[in-house]
């Protein structure tokens, strides 16, 4: 049995994994980079090694250094968290070769799901839904005809592409040939590669994903999450269950996710992501690790996903059956980003001058009071998670939790999150992945009423040294003027 766990990560997820490790009575070990200063995870670790790299990010991608630290501290297992080395098959192999337990799926599964084209054809081969598509390389001569057969609207993507560059939406069959030519020249210009593929395009889709647990033999699902509120292709708010599915669709999408995970004999916690729209859903990708938004699933099912990951890594068969999994109430997670929504969500930095949460919401934080938010890592600094009987109550609880989260010294998206979640369409569940981009007014700083401005100025004056000095001089001045008055 695993007696000690090294967390090869930082920020809120390092603290979150260590909380479970400690609760289970195991030794929690950590690697950290000096640029982070003192972090919440450090308070939870029994032992710690500092790691270095050409950049702070490079330190967390240096598998050799992390494994050396793990061996030095006597770790039995490595938990990768998310990001960094969590989906690196080579690292998973290195961990095992070093005689440590890798808390994750087999390297082969990581490789399969990490290659988006291979993963897609694996899923299609097993009879599960992927967006209808045509790949030019399969037979370049018939590409245009096969593309038209995919149906409209469709999306042309460069095979070598990424980041949205060179993608073109075609709604009219008559424009297809011309758009293929344009996309090809853009692909050549951006990537030096003009090969293309097309995929059916879904207007205003929802992002729905299913949490699964597998022990290498059996797979169960822990229901779905909806993560349609995104900015720059990054999730901002996630909830469970999805407000966009009826019971039949919910059962179907969860069944498909279990089928996909079973087909690759999945062993770990994992997430199967889907694009959903027009009553249909398509496989997007599978993430072979714990996800940022896993707490909403923990809230509605009452299951600690890190604890289950550890049990599976210990070789124990799944400890719960599908019938025992219940989805109770509604949970919402809001990601707190250090960013300026009114400047196109550009990252911000600064000292943490005040940091306290006055509500009883779950706060998974990667920053501490008197610490500093810097530009070396991802701008997500904390997550706030609430659970209530139903969605309206959960939205109300989240608004209160956001209002009572005091974080001063660095600009964040907290005000934006409150405006977003009180938008009538979001409250009504009418969301899609382009929602935030389509509502730039929500990102703008709201007008400050004169009465509020007066209060803010009055309060600010009390802490300005120049003002304090001037005030200190006033009584003396008045005293000196006394004889002259009246």
């Amino acid at each position: 049995m695993i007696a000690s766990v090294l967390v090869a990560n930082r920020g809120e997820i390092a603290a979150r994994v260590l909380r479970t490790v400690r609760r289970l009575g195991l030794r929690g070990l950590l690697v950290a980079h000096p640029v982070d200063g003192h972090t919440p995870a450090m308070d939870l670790a029994d032992d710690l090694r500092m790691i270095e790299g050409e950049t702070p990010v490079a330190a967390f991608l240096d598998g050799n250094q992390i494994i050396a630290a793990a061996l030095e501290m006597g770790a039995a297992a490595i938990h990768p968290g998310y990001g960094f080395l969590s989906e690196n098959a080579g690292f998973a192999r290195q961990v095992v070769d070093a005689g440590l337990i890798w808390i994750g799926p087999s390297p082969e599964t990581i490789e399969l799901m990490g290659d988006k084209v291979r993963a897609r054809s694996f899923v299609a081969q097993h009879g599960f839904p992927v967006a209808p598509s045509a790949i030019e390389d399969d037979d370049p001569g018939s590409f245009a005809a096969r593309a038209a057969a995919v149906g409209f609207p469709l999306l042309i993507k460069p095979s070598a592409g990424g980041g949205g560059k060179g993608m073109r939406i075609v709604r009219d069959a008559a424009l297809l040939e011309r758009e293929i030519a344009t996309a090809r020249s853009e692909g050549l210009r951006y990537f030096g590669d003009g090969r293309l593929f097309v995929e059916r395009y879904i207007d205003q889709p929802r992002h729905i994903e299913v949490q699964i647990l597998g022990d290498g033999v059996d797979v169960i699902h822990l229901h779905e999450r909806e993560c349609s509120l995104q900015r720059r292709f990054q999730k901002v708010v996630e909830e469970a269950p999805s407000v966009g599915l009826d019971e039949t669709e919910r059962a179907r999408i969860c069944r498909v996710a279990v089928g996909i995970a079973s087909a690759c004999k999945y062993r770990n916690a994992g997430t199967v992501e889907f694009i959903y729209g027009d009553g249909e859903f398509y496989f997007l990708e599978m993430n072979t690790r714990l996800q940022v938004e896993h707490p909403v699933t923990e809230m509605v099912t009452g299951i600690d996903l890190v604890e289950e990951q550890l049990a599976i890594a210990n070789g124990i068969r799944l400890r719960v059956t599908q019938d025992e999994i219940r989805c109770i109430g509604h949970a919402i997670e809001a990601r707190i980003y250090a960013e300026d929504p009114s400047r196109d969500f550009a990252p911000t930095t600064g000292p943490v001058l005040a940091f306290s949460s006055r509500s009883n919401a779950r706060l998974d934080a990667g920053i501490s009071l008197n610490g500093r938010v810097h530009a070396a890592f991802d701008p997500m600094i904390a997550k706030l998670v609430v659970h209530a009987d139903d969605r309206p109550s959960a939205l109300a609880a989240m608004d209160l939790a956001l209002a009572e989260l005091v974080l001063l010294g660095v600009q964040t998206n907290i005000g934006f999150l409150r405006r977003l979640l009180s938008d009538p369409d979001v409250a009504g569940g009418r969301m899609h992945t382009g929602f935030i981009g389509d509502a730039p007014n929500l990102a703008e700083e709201p007008h400050v009423e004169t009465g509020v401005r007066d209060i803010l100025i009055g309060r600010a004056l009390a802490v300005i040294p120049d003002v304090q000095e001037a005030r200190a001089r006033v009584p003396a001045l008045h005293a000196a003027m006394g004889a002259w008055r009246n």
Binding site: T348, A354, I455, V463, D466
Partner: protein
């Protein structure tokens, strides 16, 4: 007259001595920046004493001061103190969010100071290059 507090781009002349204290506020100061949490919202106010406010160069400097538009690091510096620059001339190249950006002079002038060096990291609003009138 003491100075100005800027909130959301609006400058308020401050000469009142009596603060209005609301009980449910949390206030913190970082140099000339004051953060206030009031009724569930966070506000940032920037203090500038009256003498500095009216003498510049601050934000209302007519383009003499080039500030960092976002946190990043200096990749290259194209000018040195004493150089004459024309509007549109490159001043320095910065890297932020994995993108390189060239910051250019927004007016003619003479470089008064370059306050960063190549490789140096900076935060948003840091003064990078200051010009003076010819």
């Amino acid at each position: 007259m003491l100075g100005y507090l800027t909130l959301h781009g609006v400058d308020t002349l401050v000469d009142a001595f009596l603060p209005v204290i609301a009980d449910d506020t949390v206030v913190a100061r970082d140099g000339d920046t004051i953060w206030v949490h009031y009724q569930g919202s966070v506000y940032r106010l920037d203090w500038c004493d009256a003498v500095t406010f009216h003498s510049g160069p601050a934000d209302g400097d007519g383009g003499l001061v080039t500030r960092a538009p976002m946190p990043g690091a200096v990749v290259a510096i194209a000018v040195a103190s004493g150089d004459t620059v024309r509007i549109g001339d490159p001043l320095l190249t910065i890297e932020s969010m994995k993108l390189e950006t060239v910051l250019r002079a927004t007016r003619d002038g003479v470089v008064a100071s370059v306050s960063v060096s190549v490789g140096e990291a900076f935060e948003r609003d840091r003064i990078l290059v200051a010009l003076e009138e010819k």
